[in-house]
Amino acid sequence: MALDVGKFIKAPEYDVKIISRRDVFQASVCEEDRFSDECLELSALIVLDAAEMKRMGIQDGANVRLTSKWGSVVVRARASPREEQKGLGFMVNGPWVNALVSDEAPDGIPAFKDIEAKITISKDGITGIQELHLL
């Protein structure tokens, strides 16, 4: 029997600074139905620079685990159609990115656009809205 070496090797982890933003398509489907598959598909998503993804060995559409000091979620990784700055990841405002945001907000404004996290390829499924609830 062939040994599945991959099982014993931990997927490499990389630093990513996540910036949350808006998306009209996500906003409209989530307004219609926050619990729909479409809302999940457009929200549980991180967009990264294509070359950076290649360097990290992450394929377009692959599941990745994002872990910050405050939480951990699995979302889909997508290559940006345009060049992005190295080390940045973009997520649409919603419960998935909010699972990673710090609870420290001394000025009353959370760091929605300055989230330090680790990114790694994941074999887990995308974190469902129910799971988020249990976090």
Binding site: S28, F35, G71, E84, V101, D107
Partner: protein, 416 residues
């Protein structure tokens, strides 16, 4: 086809007043001119909120009585949300907070409140969207991506339309500039005028621009072609009527030295004629600031204390959710989706009331949920557009439920 109703859209704080809605049998049949966000708003949510206590369906009166009991019993209740409510409901909410001696805050607390405050106290010059359409020749989207957040912003006001002084079309008459960390959909509209800065690089970029305006060579700690900054400064200097649309990208990046914005505007206006408009998101976020200010002199983060109304970060929704409040009522918002989970997880441990037309993440954990009809759809009123203009909103269809204002007034009756 039936005659359409002209409607003011509550999909975002642009409050587009040219929407045509076709109604048949008290249902929306078709909507014209509204963007995708507006369309979603008109048609409403699929899962409406139920009237519940402890997640069990109850008569709405029981839910209202239970909500009143929770708020009365609490020693530090907090009322939060309000940006998706008409001004009339906001005023009722402020009165309820005063009656209860509660804290009250809106989404503006972690959004554009800081900018709106500076505009309202006169530190930052602002103008109306009509001014932008009729006069603006230079517009800057700074840390803002209206093509993703306020889809009709460019087509209705800031770039594409012909205006009184801008008759020849956008290619000749207007220059659109985008300063952002990513080449957004809006940046794509600003051909050759997109300035990509590193995250948190806004203050430095602003100072570099001020150097450029004053004829000094700009210095930056990050790699940026100084020539382009000087070219941009030259464009700004020549502007007849310039407008900066400040997005959250700018606000969050510069919040610790926010005075820099008014300093930048003053410097700019030594050479030119510039105004700033905050990119408020929800349809009546700015209305809450105006309404609370009228009543208390403060725009948000307010506590009705024994010594009268006081504003401060300790009364902000974030601090209240983290450790201040011992009961929370949310009106027209979904904090479990839109605020950090690290903070909202405490909502499961304290009594939580939700007043909303739709089921959402918060309704799934709330101790009491009270459905209300959607503002701007089944109930009219007034709202304040992102530039501060008062707008009338007339209802589209006949609803048989209570409005959020009525729910709050009913709670108040129970409390009294």
């Amino acid at each position: 086809m039936t005659e359409p109703i002209t409607w003011t859209c509550t999909g975002c704080a642009l409050l587009c007043e040219d929407i045509l809605v076709y109604i048949k049998d008290n249902r929306v049949e078709k909507v014209e001119h509204a963007c995708l966000k507006g369309k979603a708003r008109v048609y409403g949510c699929k899962h409406t909120a139920m009237s519940t206590v402890d997640q069990e369906e109850v008569d709405i009166n029981n839910a209202i009585i239970q909500a009143a009991e929770i708020l009365e019993k609490a020693s530090n209740p907090s009322l939060y949300g309000w940006s998706n409510s008409t001004s009339e409901a906001q005023v009722a909410g402020i009165e309820l907070a005063q009656t209860l001696g509660a804290c009250i805050d809106s989404t503006s607390s972690f959004c554009q409140g800081i900018t709106i405050n500076e505009i309202m106290n006169g530190s930052i010059p602002s103008c109306t969207l009509e001014d932008v359409r009729e006069k603006a020749d230079v517009v800057i989207y700074w840390g803002a991506d209206p093509m993703s957040s306020h889809p009709r912003h460019l087509s209705r006001y800031s770039y594409f339309p012909r205006g009184e002084l801008r008759q020849r079309g956008y290619e000749e008459d207007r220059t659109a500039i985008c300063i952002d960390v990513t080449e957004s959909r809006t940046a794509k509209m600003c051909k050759g005028m997109f300035f990509r800065i590193p995250p948190g690089g806004d203050a430095e970029f602003m100072r570099a621009l001020m150097d450029g305006l004053a004829g000094r060579v700009p210095k930056l700690s990050y790699d940026f072609d100084v020539k382009r900054i000087l070219e941009l400064a030259a464009v700004l200097k020549k502007a007849e009527f310039g407008v900066i649309f400040a997005g959250l990208g700018l606000v969050y990046s510069i919040k610790e030295e926010f005075d820099l914005i008014s300093e930048f505007m003053s410097t700019l206006n030594r050479f030119s004629n510039f105004f700033l408009i905050p990119m408020a998101g929800h349809f009546n976020m700015r209305g809450f600031n105006h309404n609370l200010h009228k009543k208390t002199g403060f725009i948000h983060r307010l506590g009705f204390t024994k010594n009268g109304p006081v504003s401060g970060v300790e009364y902000s929704v974030l601090e209240q959710l983290k450790h201040g409040a011992d009961a929370v009522m949310v009106v027209g918002s979904d904090p479990l989706a839109s605020l950090p989970l690290s903070i909202t997880k405490r909502l499961k441990d304290i009594p939580l009331i939700l007043v909303d037309p739709c089921a959402n993440l918060t309704s799934r954990v709330a101790d009491v949920t009270i459905p209300c009809v959607a503002s701007g759809i089944e109930v009219g009123g007034t709202a304040v557009r992102l530039d501060g203009k008062n707008m009338d909103i007339s209802p589209l269809i006949q609803g048989d439920g209570l409005s959020d204002e009525m729910v709050i007034r009913r709670i108040m009756e129970e409390v009294n």
